[in-house]
């Protein structure tokens, strides 16, 4: 095996004038970039606390102390509901039902995705047989083969199987290709780097393959799985495309906001209220991210996909 970096913090710094200029300019640009992102969020929060008149007349100003309107949040809480025509007829969901959909969807998707990506990553990395090599090659093939325009066929298939617009089926189904994609490659890399001797030791002690996987290997990979779970959770919480196309009868909070933004005029909801709604919807993911960001930042590296 090749020697890994002994001390990742011991990085050589080049100090020629050109290097210093290059570094300084890039760091400045990076900070400016970050400021633009932060400014958008800052503007979002300040606008969500404004009266409608102030929002229109002074869009760049902060709300003055006596003109801060927390009531926007209360009003938005009451108005956040979705009425939509679907194949099942007219559906109407209030905020609590959408919160429930968001929680079920985020938890369900994250658990199912991490579970299958980990299982497939483990088996492909640790069992070097013709079968697993073939599965890995199929996964790589799907990643590098752009099959386009199958959306109508997928829609027809879901409708023919009578599983279109069914949330439970999305959980049972799991990812279409569990042995492809970035999250699979990350888990595959993690298990590939673990010594086989751990499994051999379990087997010699009389343990089975399940025991080796569940009791020894998975616990070692657990921090990465948690990081993947967090990213999956955040992605699923923010997911509105699935609810727009595949699950129109089960709007989550993110879709609710998307819907309200698109229909704000007809629903007579002002933009300041829309922005208040967005702050409410985003709050859980921001908290989750800041709690777990250290783990996320250090766990991700992706290798090549030769196959």
């Amino acid at each position: 095996m090749r020697k890994k970096r002994k001390n990742p913090n011991k990085i050589v710094e080049f100090n020629s004038p050109a290097d210093v200029i290059y570094r300084s300019i890039t760091i400045c640009v990076l900070f400016l970039y970050c400021l633009t992102l932060l400014y958008v969020l800052f503007w979002l929060i300040s606008s969500s606390l404004k009266y409608y008149d102030d929002y229109i007349l002074y869009p760049l100003n902060l709300p003055s102390k006596d003109r801060i309107r927390w009531q926007n949040y209360v009003e938005m809480f009451g108005k956040l509901n979705v009425t939509r025509q679907t194949d099942k007829g007219m559906v109407n969901w209030g905020i609590l039902a959408m919160v429930q959909n968001s929680i079920i969807w985020s938890l369900g998707c994250s658990i199912v995705n991490v579970f299958w990506n980990s299982i497939c990553g483990y088996v492909c990395a640790k069992y070097n047989s013709k079968f697993t090599r073939f599965i890995f090659a199929v996964g790589v093939f799907t990643m590098v083969t752009p099959i386009v325009g199958s959306f109508p066929s997928a829609m027809k298939l879901m409708k023919d199987l009578n599983v279109y617009d069914k949330m439970w089926f999305k959980f049972v189904q799991g990812p279409t290709t569990s042995f492809a994609g970035m999250h699979f490659l990350i888990m595959y890399g993690i298990f590939k780097d673990m010594p086989d001797s751990y499994i051999e030791a379990v087997r010699i002690d009389g343990g089975g393959h399940f025991t080796a996987m569940l009791r020894v290997m998975m616990p070692i990979a657990f921090p990465t799985m948690i990081a993947l779970f967090t990213l999956n959770f955040v992605g699923s919480w923010n997911d509105n495309g699935t609810f727009l196309i595949w699950l129109p009868s089960y709007p989550n909070l993110s879709f609710g906001m998307y819907y309200i933004q698109a229909n704000a005029n007809s629903m007579q909801i002002g933009p300041n209220l829309v922005l208040a709604g967005i702050v409410m919807v985003s709050f859980p993911t921001i908290i989750l991210y800041f709690v777990s960001q250290k783990g996320i930042m250090t766990k991700f590296a992706v290798g090549g996909i030769k196959g």
Partner: protein
């Protein structure tokens, strides 16, 4: 990896084989139904007509393909514009974004005061969601631009809408790469840095060119090939800006398909779309596989 070259008998006994099959059975079944069958059905669909309920009504040979070619390559056709826009979008994003990803990642990898904070902030578009940023920016455009520049038309529907969408998507696109690339740079073996130092590498650009890029080349290849697979998808943010009502000038191939499927309850239009998917797949598969082959064969080496 060396530890996987020689497997001991514990991996090759019958229980090991059964374990592999049991563990992968469900993912393989799902793959066969929702990937293999789905794409095979797309092929079959392209040679038939459907009634409005989705039932096959008859074999039509290559009529759907002819119809698609008329739509895809005819003057003034929305689909033709969508294909052109998708290609333009991909090329511009590729040329502008990739050098920036590497330059920024390298500086983050080398660490500076505040690099951790930068990485946390850069992830915000993923964490807070693209939709939240899109809605904020949409409101910002609707209210702040007319406030600062009275009389300006809405950029989302004006002549610069496409440029705006590209700029926005590049602005939002740094999260994943600035998470993965610096970590990958940190995994390059120390011996490569040491030997480069002996060979006289003493400038940032030299280290980037002779050590970092060859060292992380497999990762770059992965991202490039996966990116190339999405060449026809176009901007991922179109639905967020416009739902299903985008102006013609920003249409992409992928968005055209979404709008066609989602705005009609009948399935009669599916066969022509399926034929189009087959044609584009036949063009793209050799292109992507050749690109992958060339990237792997002619890329920089660590020697």
């Amino acid at each position: 990896m060396a530890n996987n070259v020689k497997k001991s008998k514990v991996f090759k006994d019958n229980s090991g084989r059964i374990f592999q099959v049991v563990m992968l059975a469900w993912p393989i079944l799902i793959f066969l139904v929702f990937y293999v069958y789905c794409n095979a059905q797309s092929l079959v669909l392209s040679f038939f007509n459907l009634d409005w309920t989705g039932k096959f009504t008859g074999f039509v040979g290559f009529d759907n393909y002819k119809e698609f070619f008329k739509m895809a390559f005819g003057d003034g056709q929305l689909l033709a514009l969508g294909i052109k826009n998708s290609l333009k979008y991909w090329v511009l994003c590729f040329i502008i974004s990739n050098p920036l990803y590497i330059i920024f990642s390298y500086v983050i990898f080398k660490k500076f005061k505040g690099h951790r904070l930068v990485r946390v902030i850069v992830m915000l578009p993923t964490i807070v969601s693209g939709m939240v940023f899109a809605i904020c920016v949409k409101n910002f455009i609707n209210i702040v631009i007319p406030y600062l520049f009275p009389g300006t038309s809405n950029v989302l529907y004006g002549e610069h809408a496409f440029t705006f969408i590209i700029t926005y998507d590049i602005w939002m696109s740094f999260a994943t790469t600035l998470l993965v690339y610096p970590n990958t740079m940190g995994k390059i073996p120390e011996e490569l840095y040491d030997s480069a130092k002996v060979d006289g590498v003493d400038k940032s650009w030299q280290e980037l060119w002779y050590v970092i890029l060859p060292g992380m080349y497999p990762t770059l290849t992965t991202f490039m090939v996966v990116g190339l697979c999405n060449i026809l998808a176009g901007s991922p943010s179109l639905e967020m800006w416009y739902m299903f009502g985008a102006p013609d000038s920003v249409y992409s191939f992928g968005y055209y398909y979404t709008v066609k499927v989602m705005t009609t309850s009948s399935q009669q239009g599916y066969p022509v779309l399926a034929a189009g998917g087959m044609v584009m797949t036949l063009i793209l598969v050799p292109l992507v596989l050749t690109a992958k082959h060339c990237l792997e064969k002619f890329g920089p080496s660590e020697d």
